[in-house]
Symmetry: C2
Subunit: 651 residues, 2 copies
Amino acid sequence: MATVNTKTGQVVDRTVLESMLRRRLFYTPSFEIYGGVSGLYDYGPPGCALINNIVDLWRKHFVLEEDMLEVDCTMLTPHEILKTSGHVEKFADWMCKDPKTGEIFRADHLVEEVLEARLKGDKEARGQKVVVDEEKEAKKKKKAKETKAVRLDDAVVKEYEETLAQIDNYDGPELEQIITKYDIRNPTTDGNLLPPVAFNLMFQTSIGPSSNMPGYLRPETAQGQFLNFQKLLDFNQQSMPFASASIGKSFRNEISPRAGLLRVREFLMAEIEHYVDPEGGKKHSRFEEMKDIELSLLSRDVQLSGSTQTTKMTIGKAIESGLVDNETLGYFLARIQLFLLKLGVDPAKLRFRQHMANEMAHYAADCWDAELQTSYGWIECVGCADRSAYDLTVHKNKTGAPLVVREPRAEPLKIEEWQVDLDKKKFGPRFKKDGKTVAAAVEALSQELREKLALDLEQQGKIEVDVEGVSSGKVELDKELIKIEKRTRVENVREYTPNVIEPSFGIGRILYSTLEHVYWSREGDEARGVTIAPTKVLIVPLSNHASFRPLSHRLMMKMRRMGISNRVDDSSASIGKRYARNDELGTPFGITVDFQSVKDNTFTLRDRDSTKQVRASEDEILQALKSLVEGDETWEDIRKRLPEFTGQEVD
Amino acid sequence: MATVNTKTGQVVDRTVLESMLRRRLFYTPSFEIYGGVSGLYDYGPPGCALINNIVDLWRKHFVLEEDMLEVDCTMLTPHEILKTSGHVEKFADWMCKDPKTGEIFRADHLVEEVLEARLKGDKEARGQKVVVDEEKEAKKKKKAKETKAVRLDDAVVKEYEETLAQIDNYDGPELEQIITKYDIRNPTTDGNLLPPVAFNLMFQTSIGPSSNMPGYLRPETAQGQFLNFQKLLDFNQQSMPFASASIGKSFRNEISPRAGLLRVREFLMAEIEHYVDPEGGKKHSRFEEMKDIELSLLSRDVQLSGSTQTTKMTIGKAIESGLVDNETLGYFLARIQLFLLKLGVDPAKLRFRQHMANEMAHYAADCWDAELQTSYGWIECVGCADRSAYDLTVHKNKTGAPLVVREPRAEPLKIEEWQVDLDKKKFGPRFKKDGKTVAAAVEALSQELREKLALDLEQQGKIEVDVEGVSSGKVELDKELIKIEKRTRVENVREYTPNVIEPSFGIGRILYSTLEHVYWSREGDEARGVTIAPTKVLIVPLSNHASFRPLSHRLMMKMRRMGISNRVDDSSASIGKRYARNDELGTPFGITVDFQSVKDNTFTLRDRDSTKQVRASEDEILQALKSLVEGDETWEDIRKRLPEFTGQEVD
């Protein structure tokens, strides 16, 4: 994907948008007066209002509407938890250091950059047209030295292309081989680099005054939710399925972040952990409501075939055909789409992409990303992963906490199994202080071993069992001490570890992508983005004449009390200029206060997108605004029922 | 303050309340299945809903109502910023380590604990009654060894009491002296302790892959706001005064936190930085609206006299009499009170306490705390500090960024001053490469020095100026090179660094204190806490009869769409039990679904506080609930206009 065209045919110009967003303080680099820190951004008033509106909508759409259990867990997380979850070992990128300049490169990005530059040089040397990939270009901090038009052997081109296609799959030693084999160096200085080393992406700190409790800032909100599973299940009166949800900051110590709001070191996430019985096909009771919703799907198979062609399909059909694994996963994909469309996302720039097997996080069993198309390419904004029983299982095994569901069986289950009886009375005197250790080792024997040992015991009258740490590591038990028999056990309660379906939203990415979609689809397009507009109404007095002030003030106070965010702009700029400034801030409606208003308390209400106006009494205008902001009526509805106003052109 | 009595005469029993709050998952220790970490708590669903409601109300009451500029800045903060702000040096507590056990004590708390125990022992020995201070008791993790009834000299008693009265004022070396002088040891083992060392309370980390950017988790949201001052002033079109506001987590690596939600290592803050012209008495344009509001004030002078007697006074009078310094500070004290009362705080348990001079943070010029009375004593929940121009000045000096306001003067200011003219043409050849350094040193001369040098120059024809790093550190300048004259300069623009008034809210502390107030004031008291109740309505079908289910479901969905949070409880417990369970969760209203409902679609609406019920049609009941939840009507209003229902007793 090279250039993105909008519905209105405009070419997306990121420079223009980003400069506007910074100028209007949607966001701004953090600590800029101290030189800034890459990957850290602050949100200013319009950005904050947008974030708040997105979070608000998310909470209504998911937490309230689906009765999820919201929790707020700490970001500080002790080492042991993230060691158990696998993050200490696996949440890492490979980096290479230039020993001369001290520069640090993310190894996979470096290989990509250098090989692509060489392929580009090869194409130039062959006289072929070079297509610029904006997404890749945007990732480069500094331009490498000018591409050299050097022709490569056909075999080398093929090797490079194969390497690039698999770039996400290499581990450190493999990256090291590639770097050596293709003589990859610092692109700016041509200096040699040290071999790749793993760099953990979690921010480390120390909890408390002694240094014996290392900890991290969480890389996701999920772990806190999992650790509370048992309490949440209790809170839900043991009823399954249910979901917990959490909104909060997470952290990722990127090696060299770029690409603005899309790759940052501190970010707001909204995550749902939906706990479901792994048996019975992971059905969802409200799937019926979703089944006819059509999604653009990009499956794993299509990607393997080298294509990025999406298929339009109802989620019902996608599940019938086995493309999407189960109803619960499908239900959430559809709900995610509804949420994104409510925000104002352009449906033509939304797709669901299935993860490749080697691309998934270490905990995931399956995963679909909701991706939004932007000038940076297709950006993962929501992940929807089936984390299976991975997390609950590892935490259960580590702590012994019963992170399981226990439910009465409709029909008792009969299980044939090899059972062990120990004669505890004789056991103590025989093994003294080791008695418990030996008993525990015996209890832990597998069914297979028990079957074999039962036979040995019958044939030889005694058996040998491995017991770590007791005498030579082997302990002899005879028929007086132990009995092993096949019996039937009746289980009335079923115990299982739920699987977790996890829709996980990157709020900053959604915000940025939606801004791109809304910004480039204004003219002639249906009103979008009203839901999340930071300020809903601009109050514009015709001039700064004293008689307008009490009216502006009264409108402002009345709307504040109605919960409609508004601003008065009584600066001396022309009305047209004031509207233009607020159009940039995304303010969808404007009220003009003029001399007629002073006389008869009527006001003009202006719609940003159509620039049409209506005129009515104060009460009618306020009621219309409430109705528009709450989504009960559209501008078209208002225009039909209130008299149009054309007397005064403000644009 | 020993025991807290509620309005209803009940004695506050913290054990009962805290156990209920944990059982109902208002909050819970984080990582409990891993053994927990002191000072870290997670909020469960009702706690989260309460926090969200408080934040919501805060945003409406302050940000929206007063048109503040909300920002969201990163928590990760580079070292240099917090070095400049003074936190690296001064945001620390003193701690003593027991070299044998490895235990770490906060030095001031330790001195307090030991001396108080000795004073108690002395009283016992003298046969006096010992009054237990619950606040102090609650701070102790383990009980020290049994108090010994040892009588002390009268002089020693006096010394101990004086030391305790000043305990907040001692620095490390002073604490060391006290510990040595009074032979203070580990209270449990009697072992000797190492001398106190400063422990910085910020969590340290490292930003990026190299270790050359140390950073901290912010101890307050304020610094991020200050660093954006210039951009915010631009956003506000250079108009003063204005306020920025921020809601977010901050961190404090407490030495040994206890006291539940009141002293935690990660906490939600809501902070306002109101920027005001230091000249003109810091007036506030909306002060008139607040002036008649009465506050309970505990002044510095009263505290110095050893009393804790508050004075009731309107904020207008408090400013007239000079007790509260200025209108802006007073305006915010009144607004803070209005906010806390809206939340449901008991007005009898709210006071404003002025900080003692030695108690204020390193940046504060004056400070009043809104304190709420709880079973832990009077707890600081909101600080309202005048930070003067401290922060903006230090950041300006460090970075050179113009964190100032520039405004045209109504009347140009004429300033008589000694001005220096240098003959730059001759200057270069004379000093060669040092020319600029010498010129800069001359420009930097103070008015006093200039006056003296002007006289020298006239009398001797030459002067000597200190210039560091040039020749011997002194440079001679004659009349050919320099002229110094008294002239009048006209200044049309005034430049000043604003002062900052900072209301700073600890949301967790407010939550806990409000819960105590609401929990113990239910019977016979006006309805309080409805505003922040996590769930507003409980839907209770009479039984789990199938005919009730569609009705419950319809009510639930309708209310969700109306934004009224509700839950259905169709468990098999009796109606009375189900209501009791939800009374604990603070659910203020209940709807009963019964056989009559199935017939005629009427429902019973129950008020938790009065346990009275009304009955009406579905639409009427839903409309009444909306009105109650949005605060448009009280239960009394509803009771007057809808028919009472007494047919069915549910309690």
